[in-house]
């Protein structure tokens, strides 16, 4: 059984719903590639719509996690890359993220603004590190 710990130490105020520190032991480490807003056929979903793309990204992360018997509560950290990072874009992504993750034990996070992603119409990409219980 893996054991995870999420900490927000005094002196570090998180900017949103995330933990500044995540610790884990006793399971298998999982790295999920950066997920983008494409469907099962590889078509881009929600062109020009940050919130719609964020939903698709989290649905894809869910599939990726399920692929190794993991779920969102197994995620230790997200790295979030956003094109044209504005306060509104950040809010949209954080809102969607809030529907998928634990409110009381949110994973660690890094958020980065980038010039562009792998395809012109992609607005965000999220990769994840998780730990899943050994079978």
């Amino acid at each position: 059984m893996s054991e995870k710990q999420f900490v927000n130490p005094p002196g570090l105020k998180p900017l949103g719903m995330y933990s500044n520190v995540a610790c884990a032991r006793g399971g298998t480490l999982v790295f999920i590639s950066g997920q983008v807003a494409t469907d099962a056929e590889g078509r881009i979903v929600g062109k020009g719509d940050m919130e719609a793309q964020a939903v698709q990204v989290f649905e894809n992360l869910k599939l990726a996690l399920q692929g190794v018997g993991a779920a969102f509560h197994d995620v230790l950290k997200f790295t979030i890359f956003i094109r044209n990072l504005t306060p509104e874009a950040r809010k949209s992504v954080m809102n969607v993220r809030g529907r998928y993750i634990s409110q009381t034990r949110p994973p660690a996070a890094t958020m980065i603004g980038v010039d562009r992603l792998v395809e012109e119409d992609l607005l965000l990409e999220i990769e994840a590190v998780a730990m899943v219980d050994d079978k």
Partner: protein
């Protein structure tokens, strides 16, 4: 006989003692350039994994420290990393890898980061490091963000 037994138990103990100090081994293999401010490779066999969210130059009240001042922001980021590491009983010697994101990366920025690493990390225990120039961070006014992977004894 007794001596042999002692030698055997020492042989078991010594690696354990070495591990109690750190779970991380740093390596700069021949064939890659030999950096002084980071290690090309960090290896970890066991221990408790620690992931630190990207730290920025914000104080405990979440106000930005050192607006437009890369050096002051870098200093604050390292102080925040120290607080985050200490919260789980870790310190800079337990860090295996850093990823540093700098808005509009310039050559001078690298020197400031190297200075801070020299100050906070003991020589010979400089972590693996990736430095990335980016277009923006989560909040306007932030110039640098650093995330860390650490490993502590289980």
């Amino acid at each position: 006989m007794r001596l042999a037994k002692l030698a055997i138990s020492l042989a078991y103990l010594l690696p354990a003692l070495a591990n109690a100090e750190s779970e991380i081994r740093f390596l700069n293999p021949p064939g890659l350039f030999q950096p002084s401010t980071f290690s090309q490779i960090a290896t970890v066999r066991e221990g408790r994994l620690v992931l630190i969210s990207g730290q920025t130059a914000r104080d405990a009240q979440s106000s930005i420290v050192g607006r437009d001042d890369m050096k002051a922001q870098t200093q604050q980021v390292f102080e925040n990393l120290k607080v985050a590491l200490a919260a789980v009983g870790a310190d800079f010697a337990d860090v295996a890898k850093l990823t540093t994101y700098v808005v509009n990366l310039k050559p001078d920025d690298r020197l400031m980061i190297a200075d801070a690493i020299g100050k906070y990390f003991p020589a010979g225990r400089r972590p693996a490091h990736t430095l990335v120039g980016i277009s923006a961070l989560a909040v306007e006014g932030l110039l640098i963000e650093i995330e860390a992977i650490a490993v502590i004894p289980d």
